[in-house]
C-alpha cells in the first residue's frame, strides 16, 4: 500500500517509492542516503507535527514533518 512516511505507524518498515519535490530537495535527502528503492523503518510517531525519525540500515535520521510528508513509501504488505 502506498503511504506517506508521516502516515506510517511506529516500528513499521517500508520501501521508499517516490520523493516529491525539486532536484535540490532530492539531492538534500540523498546526502543522508534517503533515496528511492531503499528500505526504512519508522522509529517514532511524531508529536504536534514534529520531526519523524526513520532508520536506514543502522542510522537514525530526524526529518521535519513537512519534508517527511513528501516521501512516499510502500509497506511490506
Amino acid at each position: 500500500m502506498l503511504k506517506k512516511i508521516t502516515e506510517l505507524r511506529s516500528k513499521e518498515c517500508a520501501n521508499i517509492i517516490n520523493i516529491e519535490g525539486s532536484q535540490n530537495f532530492k539531492e538534500k535527502l540523498n546526502t543522508l542516503g534517503i533515496r528511492e528503492n531503499i528500505k526504512i523503518k519508522k522509529m517514532s510517531e511524531s508529536f504536534l507535527k514534529g520531526p519523524v525519525i526513520i532508520k536506514i540500515n543502522l542510522m537514525e535520521i530526524a526529518i521535519g514533518w513537512r519534508m517527511a510528508n513528501r516521501i512516499l513509501v510502500q509497506t511490506d504488505l
Binding site: 535540490n24 539531492e27 538534500k28 535527502l29 540523498n30 546526502t31 543522508l32 542516503g33 533515496r35 522509529m43 517514532s44 510517531e45 511524531s46 508529536f47 504536534l48 507535527k49 514534529g50 520531526p51 525519525i53 536506514i56 540500515n57 543502522l58 542510522m59 537514525e60 535520521i61 530526524a62 526529518i63 521535519g64 514533518w65 513537512r66 519534508m67
Partner: protein, 574 residues
C-alpha cells in the same frame, strides 16, 4: 604538504585530529561540532612535517550550503586526503568517499569507531575494501587511540584511486549508489543483534511522551548536578580557602595601608563593618580574585562538566527533535537548542555555534535571543551567589522572566520573518558512554580558557572602576541616565554604572550592583536588566563578526528596548 581530515559530520574527525596533533579542539557527539577549521603542523614518521587540517564535516561535495562550499575549496588546496568513515555506517559514508575519489587526490581511508561494529554485528573485510578501492584502508578507534599510530605511518602511502574515473559533475547519484552497493555486497556482512540497553533508552528518549519525561529528568538532574558540584566546591574548597588563608593576609595589608586611602581603596576596597566583604569591598585583591575564582569558577567547572557529558552522550540531537515543533512557533528549528545551551556557558561559543543553522534569519534570531535572554555561567553563578541568599525562588524567578522574554522576542521576530523555516534534517547519533579521559581534557581546556580570559579582565575592570570612581565620571553618567533608571525602573541611579560595566564582564557588574544599597525588589529588577542589556564585550565582538554591523546594531536596539520595557513593567507590577 597539506593533509586534510575529511568526512561526514560526527565521524570523529576532531578526535583523530587531537590524537594526531596532541592539540585539543572541541569534539562532541552531534553533527556540526566543528564549525571552523583547525590547522596545525605535525611530524610524521621520518620527521617529515606536514600541515594537518580538520575540515568541518560534510555529506556531499556538490555544495548545498556555505559549509560545503568551503569544504570543496579547501579540498582543492589539499595534497593528501584522510577520509574518516564511521564504520557503523559504511554505506552512507562511502557516498562522500566516491565523490572524493573523483577529485583524483591521494587518499587514505580510515574506518573509525571500529569497536562499535562488533557490538552492532557488522563485519567489514578491510583487505577486500582496500583491494577494490586501491587506496590504503585502516581501522581506528579514536576515542581509545587504537590505530592512530598506524594512521600516522600510512599517510605517506596515500594513493589515487581509479575506482571512479569521471569528474564529479559527470556522475549522477544513482551511479554512485550502484557502485557503493557492489562494494557493500563484497565487503560487509551484517548479523542480527538484539536490542541493547542503549537502543532501548534511545527509543524511549525520542518517544513523544516518554521523551518529554526523559527530557525533564535529564534537564532537572543536570541543573541539580551543576548546583551540587558548584555549591560543594564553593562551600568546602574555595570559600574556606579565601576566608581562612587569604582574609588574614588581606587584613594585615589593610592595617598596613592604614585602613583607608587611595591604595587601600584600589587594592582592598571598602571595609564593611571593619571587615572585608568579598562581594562588596570591590578591591582588586579582594573582590577581584574572589569573584572569578571563588564565586564563578566553581560553577564554570560544574557547568562544563555537565554540558560535556550531555554533548558526548549524544542526547542533544534528540532534545533538538523533541523541541522542534515548539521552536517552529518561533520560526526556528529544534537544532537551535544546541547553540542556546552552549550560550548558558558563555554567549561567545553559543553565538558561534549558530553556524550549524542553515539560514541567516535563524542565525540572527538565535544570536539575538542568546545575547539578551541567555545568561552566561559567570552571571548565573553571581545570581546564585547573590540572589540565592534571599531564597532560591528569586533565582528561579529570574530564569522565569528571562524565559518569557526569550519566548516574547522570538514570537515578535517571527512576525517579521520572510519565507519558511527550513525543516529539521539531522542524523541522530547513537548514545555513547562519554570517554572520561576526553571529558576531563575538554573540561580542563574550557576551565583554563575561562581563567585566562576572565581573570585579567576582572582585575583590570575593577582597577578601572575604582579609578573612574575617584574621578567622578560615573556621577555624570548616572545623572544622565537617571530618567530611565530611576524613574522608569525605580532603581538607584548608580545602578546604571554596574549595568554599563556589564559590557566588560557580567560577573563584576553583578558585584558592583551590590555596592549600592538596594531593596530586594531593586536587586531583582537590576539583575534582570543587567542580564538583558549589553552583552559583554566578547559577545559583542562575536555578534559583530558573525552578523555584520547592521544586524548587530539592530540586535542591540532590540536589546535596549526590551530591557527598558521589561525593567519598567517589573517596577510597575512588583
Amino acid at each position: 604538504m597539506k593533509v586534510l581530515l575529511m568526512g561526514n559530520p560526527n565521524v570523529g574527525k576532531s578526535v583523530i585530529f587531537n590524537r594526531l596533533s596532541g592539540l585539543n579542539v572541541v569534539s562532541a557527539n552531534y553533527a556540526g561540532t566543528t564549525i571552523s577549521f583547525s590547522k596545525t603542523f605535525i611530524s610524521l614518521a621520518g620527521n617529515k612535517k606536514v600541515e594537518l587540517i580538520d575540515v568541518p564535516g560534510t555529506y556531499t561535495l556538490k555544495p548545498t550550503n556555505e559549509a560545503e562550499k568551503v569544504a570543496v575549496k579547501i579540498l582543492e588546496e589539499g595534497d593528501v586526503i584522510i577520509n574518516i568513515i564511521d564504520a557503523t555506517n559504511l554505506e552512507r559514508n562511502l557516498f562522500l568517499t566516491m565523490q572524493l575519489i573523483s577529485f583524483k587526490k591521494p587518499l587514505v581511508i580510515v574506518l573509525n569507531m571500529w569497536d562499535e561494529t562488533k557490538h552492532k554485528g557488522i563485519e567489514i573485510n578491510i583487505k577486500k575494501l582496500q583491494q577494490i578501492l586501491g587506496v590504503p584502508v585502516i581501522s581506528t578507534c579514536a576515542l581509545s587511540g587504537e590505530g592512530i599510530k598506524e594512521l600516522s605511518l600510512v599517510i605517506k602511502n596515500a594513493s589515487i584511486s581509479s575506482y571512479i574515473n569521471k569528474s564529479l559533475k559527470k556522475i549522477d547519484n544513482l551511479l554512485i549508489w550502484n557502485k557503493i552497493g557492489k562494494i557493500i555486497f563484497n565487503t560487509q556482512k551484517l548479523y542480527h543483534r538484539h536490542h541493547t540497553l542503549w537502543q532501548r533508552i534511545s527509543d524511549f528518549s525520542i518517544h513523544p511522551i516518554g521523551g518529554l519525561f526523559f527530557a525533564f529528568f535529564i534537564l532537572y538532574s543536570s541543573f541539580r548536578t551543576i548546583r551540587f558540584i558548584g555549591e560543594g566546591l564553593i562551600g568546602y574548597v574555595f570559600d574556606p580557602f579565601f576566608q581562612n588563608i587569604l582574609t588574614p593576609i588581606f587584613m594585615k595589608l589593610s592595617v598596613f595601608f592604614g585602613s583607608g586611602g587611595f591604595l587601600h581603596q584600589i587594592l582592598i576596597g571598602k571595609l564593611i563593618d571593619g571587615e572585608i566583604d568579598y562581594f562588596q569591598s570591590f578591591g582588586v585583591l579582594t573582590s577581584g580574585f574572589y569573584v572569578p575564582i571563588a564565586a564563578v569558577l566553581p560553577y564554570v567547572i560544574s557547568f562544563y562538566f555537565v554540558l560535556s557529558v550531555l554533548e558526548d552522550s549524544g542526547y542533544l540531537p534528540r532534545l533538538a527533535v523533541l523541541v522542534d515543533s515548539i521552536f517552529h512557533k518561533l520560526g526556528l528549528h529544534g537544532y537551535a537548542i544546541i547553540p542556546t545551551l552552549l550560550g548558558f556557558g558563555c554567549n561567545v561559543p553559543g553565538i558561534l555555534a549558530t553556524r550549524i543553522l542553515e539560514d541567516k534569519r535563524q542565525r540572527f534570531v538565535v544570536s539575538t535571543l542568546i545575547s539578551i535572554a541567555v545568561p552566561c555561567v559567570a552571571l548565573q553563578a553571581m545570581i546564585l551567589n547573590v540572589l540565592g541568599k534571599y531564597g532560591f525562588k528569586y533565582v528561579l524567578s529570574v530564569y522565569g522572566v528571562l524565559l518569557i522574554v526569550w519566548i516574547g522576542i522570538g514570537l515578535i521576530l517571527n512576525k517579521f520573518r520572510k519565507g519558511d523555516t527550513p525543516e529539521l534534517f539531522i542524523e541522530i547519533p547513537p548514545y555513547r558512554l562519554p570517554s572520561f579521559k576526553i571529558l576531563f581534557k575538554k573540561l580542563y581546556f574550557r576551565v583554563k580558557g575561562f581563567l585566562f580570559e576572565a581573570l585579567p579582565i576582572v582585575l583590570g575592570g575593577i582597577l578601572v572602576v575604582n579609578l573612574l570612581y575617584s574621578l567622578n565620571i560615573f556621577q555624570y553618567i548616572a545623572d544622565f541616565t537617571a530618567p530611565v533608571i530611576a524613574s522608569l525602573m525605580g532603581l538607584p541611579k548608580n545602578a546604571v554604572i554596574a549595568i554599563i560595566m556589564g559590557f566588560l564582564r557580567k560577573d563584576i557588574a553583578m558585584g558592583m550592583l551590590l555596592t549600592n544599597p538596594m531593596t530586594l525588589k531593586q536587586l531583582f529588577i537590576s539583575t534582570i536588566v543587567l542580564s538583558m542589556t549589553f552583552p559583554c564585550i566578547a559577545t559583542f565582538a562575536v555578534l559583530w563578526k558573525e552578523l555584520g554591523w547592521k544586524k548587530t546594531i539592530y540586535s542591540v536596539l532590540i536589546m535596549l528596548l526590551t530591557a527598558t520595557f521589561v525593567g519598567s513593567i517589573l517596577h510597575l507590577i512588583l
